[in-house]
Each structure stands twice: as structure tokens, then as C-alpha cells.
């Protein structure tokens, strides 16, 4: 079974990865929501 311990130890690197993940994830989620909204409005 894979270890649950984090592989990346450096707090700075972890902060950066969290930030990039949240940023990219946020844009993807909001982008998908925008396409859904346009589809619901019949504009996609």
C-alpha cells in the first residue's frame, strides 16, 4: 500500500504546488461552469 506520507518535504515547494493546483483547478472549474451556463442559456 502506498505511503500516505508526503513525498515533497519542502514547505516552500508544497505551498507553490498547492497554489498552482488551486489556480489551475479554479480556472478549469470556473471555465467548465461558464460553458455549462452558456449551454443552459442555449448559447454554447
Amino acid at each position: 500500500m502506498a505511503s500516505l506520507k508526503p513525498h515533497i518535504k519542502s514547505p516552500k515547494t508544497r505551498r507553490w504546488l498547492w497554489f498552482v493546483g488551486l489556480y489551475v483547478g479554479g480556472v478549469v472549474v470556473l471555465g467548465a461552469a461558464s460553458l455549462l451556463l452558456r449551454a443552459l442559456m442555449g448559447q454554447a
Binding site: G31, S34, L37, R38, M41, Q43
Partner: protein, 330 residues
């Protein structure tokens, strides 16, 4: 005389002036969530208190000029971007009111800080979303807008919104590094470093996605011989980003200057990508222009008023040059 070309260049200059001048004072509001001390927040606002409303003159000039010189473009763009334009204007109202009320309010200063910050972030984000929607193109048939109210909303426009917010934040940081000193300036330098990386990444992604959005844009940049003529623009931008990364550590005025240079090259690239379209992908500035007589008549007014606007703007920046002390202007 080619009045159509003169007017499209005048409007381009007005829009660029707005983007850079209001960009850095919007950036100050965007930075508010990262600066907790109310005294420092007051100092930040004081650096732009004498100039922020003058900076917005250029938005009026750009919008008014578009309405008068290219009425077809104005009608199409206002219809296509009705929601983001009005959201942006409302956000600017909140922000403008907060400027005056924050300094007087004792019990509700936090609320005015929130209005200032949220107004700045929303205004910048709406401008970025419109930029994205503009690059993706407006649905036009027989000179009429045939799209929907949310056509401007897409993953690309959302990404552009974040890119403009980050770009303005960096401009604001550069401005504040120039106007502040001591420990607070050191804190601003720490904020600027990740903002440089973030802006560089955003610039790269937006540039590449722009060429992907429309094959004509890609041809303009990547076909020979254009690629040889245009390559200096991205190459110099990369050089400026590298210089900025190093300047952030110790320079004062250079950070703001380099960021302005990066904005200029990005704007130039944007213009080269879209020219001669004023409403992409099909309406050119010549299709949308008002009659020659009107353009010539308006040019007389612009020739008188523009030097006056430039004169008082330069005078205001000259009078309030240098470091902003703690006493402020309110």
C-alpha cells in the same frame, strides 16, 4: 489625410494610457488583501489619491472616441460586453466612493477597504474577461450582433481575467516600491517576486492560446517572413521579465518602468494580432468608421483637448513626484 487610421491610433493610445495608468491604481486595490496594517493601507491609497480619477479620463476618451469615430464598433462591442462593462463600471463606483469614505470612517473602515479591494479586483477581472472575449471574436451578421449575453464568458476569458488582475497587481507593486520606503518597501519586494513569475506564466499561456483561438492569428506570427520581423517582440519581453526578476530585489523606479515596458510590448503584440480588425474576427476599423467629415471635425477637437489633458496629467505627476510621506493628501 487618412483620418480613419489616425483615429484608430488615437483610440489605441487612449486605451493603452488607461490600461497602464488606471492599471497601477487598480493594482493597489488588488494588493489590499496582502497588506493587513490599516496604516500601510492608508499610505498605499495616498500614493494614488491625487491621480487616480485623472487616470480614468483615458477610459472616457477611449470609449467616447470609439462611439464617435467608430459607431458600428461601439454598438457591437457594447452589446456583446454589456454585462462585463456594467459590472466593471459598478465596481469602479464602489472603488471611487471608498477612496473618500475610508479616510473619514472610523467604525466602518474595514468595509470601505473591502469595497476598495473588491471593486479593484472585479473591475480588473472584467477588463480581462472582455479582452478574452474580444480575442475569441464577436458573433456578427450583416453588421448586427447575433450572439448571446454570455458569449464573452469562456475558459479563455476567465484565464485572461486572472492574467489582467495579476498584471495590474504587479504594476501596483512597482508603483508602490517607487513611492514607499523602509520595511514596507521590503515587504512589497517580497510580494513582487511571485507576481513576476505568475505574470510571465500568464503571458506565455495567453499568447499561445491566442494563436490557437484563430488560425489567422497564428499565421500572422509564425509564417515567414513575419516571424523574423515579429520575433523581437516576444524575445524582448522575455528579456524584460528576466531584468524585472533581478530589479525587484534592489531597484526602485526600474521595477515600475520595466513592467510598463512589458505591458507596452504585450499591447503591441495584441494590436499586431488583431489589426486591422476593430471587432474581431471580421469588422475592420475601415468598415466601422464614421464619415470622413465627422472624423476630420472631431480631430480638430482632439488636437486642442489632447495636449491639455496630457499637460495637466504630466503636471499632476510632477507636483506629486517622489516618496509619499505619512501625512498623505487627505
Amino acid at each position: 489625410m487618412d483620418y480613419q487610421l489616425i483615429w484608430v491610433l488615437l483610440i489605441a493610445v487612449a486605451v493603452f494610457s488607461y490600461v497602464t495608468l488606471d492599471g497601477f491604481d487598480l493594482g493597489i486595490g488588488i494588493l489590499f488583501p496582502f497588506i493587513k496594517d490599516p496604516k500601510n493601507r492608508g499610505r498605499m491609497m495616498n500614493t494614488v489619491a491625487p491621480v487616480w480619477d485623472g487616470n480614468e479620463t483615458w477610459l472616457i476618451l477611449g470609449g467616447g472616441g470609439l462611439y464617435a469615430a467608430f459607431p458600428l464598433a461601439y454598438s457591437l462591442l457594447m452589446t456583446a460586453f454589456y454585462i462585463p462593462v456594467f459590472t466593471m463600471l459598478l465596481a469602479l463606483v464602489f472603488r471611487g466612493v471608498a477612496f473618500e469614505f475610508r479616510f473619514k470612517s472610523k467604525n466602518h473602515q474595514k468595509h470601505w477597504d473591502f469595497a476598495f479591494s473588491a471593486g479593484s479586483i472585479i473591475a480588473a477581472a472584467m477588463q480581462g474577461a472582455m479582452l478574452g472575449g474580444f480575442i475569441e471574436g464577436i458573433a456578427v451578421e450583416n453588421g448586427r450582433f447575433v450572439g448571446g449575453a454570455f458569449d464573452w464568458l469562456s475558459p479563455f476569458s476567465i484565464f485572461c481575467a486572472t492574467a489582467v488582475v495579476v498584471g495590474y497587481a504587479l504594476l501596483g507593486t512597482g508603483w508602490l516600491i517607487m513611492k514607499m520606503e523602509g520595511d514596507f518597501q521590503g515587504n512589497l519586494r517580497k510580494l513582487a517576486k511571485p507576481a513576476v513569475i505568475w505574470m510571465a506564466a500568464n503571458l506565455g499561456v495567453v499568447s499561445l492560446m491566442t494563436t490557437y483561438v484563430n488560425p489567422v492569428y497564428a499565421q500572422r506570427w509564425f509564417e515567414t517572413p513575419n516571424i523574423f520581423y515579429l520575433a523581437p517582440i516576444p524575445l524582448v519581453t522575455v528579456g524584460l521579465l528576466y531584468w524585472l526578476w533581478h530589479a525587484v530585489k534592489k531597484r526602485e523606479k526600474t521595477v515600475f518602468g520595466i513592467t510598463l515596458g512589458i505591458f507596452f510590448l504585450s499591447y503591441l503584440g495584441f494590436g499586431i494580432t488583431l489589426f486591422p480588425n476593430i471587432v474581431p474576427p471580421v469588422i475592420t476599423f475601415r468598415d466601422a468608421a464614421a464619415p470622413e467629415n465627422s472624423l476630420a471635425f472631431m480631430l480638430v477637437g482632439a488636437a486642442i483637448l489632447l495636449p491639455i489633458i496630457l499637460g495637466y496629467t504630466a503636471y499632476a505627476y510632477w507636483v506629486f513626484r517622489g516618496k509619499t510621506g505619512d501625512e498623505g493628501y487627505h
